[in-house]
Symmetry: C3
Subunit: 278 residues, 3 copies
């Protein structure tokens, strides 16, 4: 199954509109090209709707948010929703400032996202409609572990039901869930956290998977998480003793470039959990 | 000949002012340093003219265009023209939105560029004063091929005559032409299209070649295209099986860093075509 | 001693707020992660104070300055000072435009920086409250050499006394000084100048060292300079013949990632000079 979702990206070359932060934007563009999609970046209100109209998906990322780009996010998001495009929100740093929290919540009120993807602290902030996080990384106290996994899934599914969006929480253990089904993914390596923007990259990649698999959003989102994690594992295997986080960044994107469906199926550590209650 | 144009860049260390998109700006800076030039980035109206005054060339790239930077582009462009600096326009995504098309046309009306460099779809949009493109990549239907090459050259030379600028169209086959002479360059590899910003990088590089070779703009522009293509070929030869587009990006800039004149002369696949009519 | 300052960064994981240019921001983020710190970038006035409040240090870099971000720099700087956070100014391109010179001076008037770090031309511009530089690189005529070292130290210490800040001047010979003590550091390689943003990266790194060593700012700043230079030396040792400036960038960040205290102590070429007059 996973290999089909990847093949659909490679075959359809979705064009993805990214309104994203300037810190990691280059890596987002390159990972989209690596997976077979095409990126376009445009954050000016005057062209946001028009650019999104020629695309297949929209990835909104609120890192390095500013007053000029928020209206562009809203306009592009509404247009993309109207056109039935794949729509993803990455609430980078929600909880680190009121501006970020409020903007994420405002975007969610005005736009029906297919997926909201963040770390557990960002997602908790949005679920509580406020609160504080320690920067752009998840708080250790919020971490999803084996011993609180069931609880985390339950929390995420409640939030998925409230928002009508798929919620993708990434960390040591990744969870991608709607209100009834949760995928738990255990690919990736802790060292990926030492690279800036692996989360932003995943959001770009996931938007491409959503755009190329409109009928299977939940599975496509879970596949993207697995692709990123496996790329992290393969990239790590190609590291030499002197290589560090900067080379690792290249190695991960390179591994997405070479990802083949059989490897993906073989290496994926993905478990489906159905909520019997619903 | 080609080696002299490269030597002039290395010897004169031109300082190039770039008003360019935030997606690929770091690679533009590094490729300028690789070829022996120096980059400076400044996109604020208040300093645009002053910054361009201390430079030798100006590279205007309209990717991630916004309302704040358009006046800076106009002011810097006029000042650079007044000072006789090398002047290049890269109309990234012209045709993808009215804002981009209109801004490119407005820049062309107000500033006499030495070179306008883009993909064939962007150049067609500008020649038609409008129209639509599919994002930031060329449409397959517009592609320059062996069988439509004469027609493409004729179109480009007509546009060169209209604008008074050298037109550089890059793709599988590259054409750099003024109204009477066209250079057809067949260096490079298709995989360069899987890296974000190889076009933006070429625009930076070309501006350095123009600045260091003010008396031979056409040849300097054609040489820059060849340098980029050959760097793509050399860089590819250094790729290992696991390397993908992210590593390839580094390899190409590295190859520009090491480019020597003899290699350039030996590997260049460049053909001069003179238009007998003129 | 040096190893302790590094260990303190690794142990305390300082969160560093960066208001920095979009050219080199990704490398700044990755070098902060490489040394054990965490980066956050936020340049919007509305969130600048709030973001800086959750951090341990603030790195203000005026490259690609614009009218929107200057008030954010001022607000964040004042808040960081009020909270006793580590505070660094990198006056990129001071002297290249009035906007940059005036903004750097205005920031210095309003905020008490722990360290002002730049090349010698930028520092001279600020010391003279004006003047002109040739872009973002130091003028050759300003260069600190063995034969003018005593004079350079004296100039820097006078400026340190005037500003109450530690002054860090980097170039072929690096000087980090307050009014009474100067550290002269001779690590690094000339080829680091062929990479965009090694100065910006050092500013980020140094802010982390300041934040993790609040009681020993001068030594922490000098250590950061040494770490960067040694990373440049180690990174160079891992270069293959075909590697150029783009790969070198990765190698340097990778070397920071793997830097260990013993290597740092062994390779550091650092000399302490006490000003007997004071």
């Amino acid at each position: 199954m996973l290999k089909e979702y990847l093949k659909n990206v490679r075959d359809s070359h979705p064009l993805i509109h990214n309104i994203t932060n300037y810190v990691t934007v280059n890596d987002v563009a390159n990972i989209l090209l690596a997976c077979g999609a095409s990126p376009i970046m445009a954050d000016e209100l005057e062209e946001a709707e028009e650019i999104t109209s020629i695309c297949n998906g929209l990835n909104i990322n609120i890192g390095t948010l500013n007053s000029r780009t928020i209206p562009a996010m809203l306009a592009a998001g509404k247009k993309a929703e109207e056109l039935g495009h794949a729509l993803l929100l990455d609430p980078v740093g929600a909880g680190a400032s009121r501006l970020r929290t409020d903007t994420a919540l405002k975007l969610m009120e005005n736009i029906q996202f297919d997926v909201i993807r963040g770390n557990i602290s960002e997602i908790k902030t949005l679920a509580k409609h406020g609160g504080h996080t320690k920067g752009v990384d998840a708080d250790a106290s919020d971490e999803v572990r084996e011993d609180n996994l069931a609880q985390a899934i339950s929390f995420i599914q409640t939030f998925a039901e409230e928002t009508g969006s798929i919620i993708a929480v990434t960390g040591a253990i990744d969870i991608v869930a709607n209100k009834t089904i949760a995928y738990v993914i255990q690919n990736g390596r802790a060292e990926m956290g030492r690279i800036t923007g692996t989360g932003c990259q995943l959001s770009g990649l996931m938007t491409a998977f959503l755009a190329a698999n409109r009928e299977n959003s939940l599975e496509a989102a879970a596949t993207a998480v697995s692709v990123m994690g496996i790329a992290g594992e393969i990239g790590w295997n190609h590291m030499k003793p002197e290589d560090g986080n900067s080379t690792y960044r290249n190695r991960i994107i390179d591994a997405v470039y070479h990802m083949d469906g059989d490897t993906l199926e073989r290496m994926a550590k993905i478990k489906k959990i159905e909520n019997k209650k619903n």
